[in-house]
Symmetry: C2
Subunit: 141 residues, 2 copies
DNA sequence: AACAATTAAATTGTGTACAATTTAATTGTA
DNA sequence: TACAATTAAATTGTACACAATTTAATTGTT
């Protein structure tokens, strides 16, 4: 009845919320070897694709705001992974790029998605469908 | 090539991570009317099902530990939503239950999942499949 | 040029998350 | 019964996450 609507087991959001955190935990030991957290790893992924991005661009790509990114990027800077530089063209803008050390992690970072997909026992088409559905949600909100 | 493995767009974890946060944002305005956060809402859902649960049980149901739950439950207690009581049988255990005020939210809380599913434009079978895949992941990790 | 409007980051404040440790109570075993 | 091992919460410390505000630079308009 109406009560069932509220059952945890009937919600989509709850398994989404829980699975995300459990998977992040799965990533943790691998990421610890690179001395980064999962959100920091995502920043690296963006910077492996593009040599330099602004904080604003990073925020748009990762769905994060400056309140999250600014302190995180400062931590990554302290760890010697990235460089933050005010744009000379527009002093409001901060350009983020990899340091030599940050760049040197790329090889090790490549191994992670593979090892991960081995720990999650989904068929390839299940992976694809999951990604499709999540991306569809992301495009709508 | 090997580089593509690291592309954000090729990862499952990233849309999972991002979609979770975007959906939580969607929930926020509705939950604000009840004066609870999303994780607090989950605690309420458990307590709508079971009159009383221990912190340990809550942690198992929501995949959270006492480091997260203890301060959260204290906040909910301060807001008059729940009651925390040491078990007399076993003084180590804390039993959590709804107050009158907490119980009174149930009707309003019931409306949320419906409104939510209208904002996310997925077919019923897509919803079901998404839930199935996420639950499968949760069961494995 | 002057200045209001806009924009990009940074800051502030609150609330999760979680690893690791601590505290206190209970249980198992010599 | 003593007391080591285990267990449940709480605590400590670090790192997101995000709403709301602030700061500083740039742009648009008169």
């Amino acid at each position: 009845m109406s009560k069932n609507i509220l059952k945890l087991s009937n919600q989509v959001c709850f398994p989404l919320y829980a699975a995300t955190r459990q998977i992040t935990k799965l990533y943790r030991p691998m990421l610890e070897k690179l001395e980064v957290t999962y959100p920091q790893y995502l920043v690296l992924l963006v910077l492996f694709e593009d040599v330099s991005v602004t904080v604003k661009e990073l925020g748009e790509r990762l769905y994060l705001d400056s309140g999250t990114l600014t302190p995180m990027l400062k931590r990554m800077e302290e760890h010697g992974l990235v460089e933050r530089k005010r744009s000379s063209k527009d002093e409001r803008v901060v350009e983020v790029s990899l340091t030599e050390k940050g760049r040197s992690i790329e090889k090790k970072a490549e191994e992670i998605p593979n090892r991960f997909s081995k720990e999650i026992h989904l068929e390839q088409d299940e992976f694809d469908e999951l990604k499709r559905l999540l991306t569809k949600i992301l495009d709508q909100v």
